[in-house]
Subunit: 141 residues, 2 copies
Amino acid sequence: MKLTTKGRYAVMAMADLASFKDQGPVSLSDISLRQNISLPYLEQIFLKLKNNNLVKSVRGAKGGYKLELSPDEIKISNIISAVDEEVKMLNCKKDSKKGCNNKSSKCITHNLWDQLDQHINNFFEKVKLQDLVKKKQILNK
Amino acid sequence: MKLTTKGRYAVMAMADLASFKDQGPVSLSDISLRQNISLPYLEQIFLKLKNNNLVKSVRGAKGGYKLELSPDEIKISNIISAVDEEVKMLNCKKDSKKGCNNKSSKCITHNLWDQLDQHINNFFEKVKLQDLVKKKQILNK
DNA sequence: TTTAAATCATACTAAATTAGTAGGAATTGA
DNA sequence: TCAATTCCTACTAATTTAGTATGATTTAAA
């Protein structure tokens, strides 16, 4: 399972960006202060966010980052996958040593983890950046 | 997030135990062979499972472990929490340094992670050991 | 035109966690 | 008695995560 502070920080930073999107580009040092995340670490994260077209940068003094899309168009899943690669409990099939080899009763729990992955990804698909900024209840179904 | 191979192995081992429950106590060396998990590692895991009253042991030769309850009474969540402590994305409140301190806009994403935890725990609450052994589709809703 | 504020990029490192080993004691059926 | 088994604790290797370090590039503004 790949779901660590990097993913959390990314979501926090994007939420911060969304909150302050009306005052021009937001610098990472601002975010660093507000969210208490080290600046160089943020830089790494934003490199990935940029490569995934979630933000665009404005270089030089008074520069910073802006959202590429509006907050209601950005899904949490987009952010997570941009920095964290994937949400996956198993990596079967590749090598027969680690994970399961998908035959016999060995992988009796295979489906379980697959479905958990789906479940989590589903959750992240449903929630938009907008939902966080509005601070409203998410998924009250 | 605490959801690692230890939790996976525990579920696999319990599923194995459920599959062979009719032939008396199942030894860890059997499970080790069938599920390809190292024996001493299994021992650690079963210590916890026993302390949580999910299995009972039969010591000595021809000994092994048996389920304490029937497979349809054991939830996956019971197994996970027995070995993995908890499923939690954040640990706020304790120290103000790590996690968030729960005030101001800092914890804009607090609810999100709380709800994800609930979501995952929900999933594990719904699935019973029985469901794995039967190999039927879980949560087809 | 200089300077300071910012992004961009890569490489390195420390800390923490996970996964697994080692070693041996206790128990018990055959 | 002996072999198979659980029980228990401590240690260690490997991996991952989180964060630093370093320095180049860009650009608004003084």
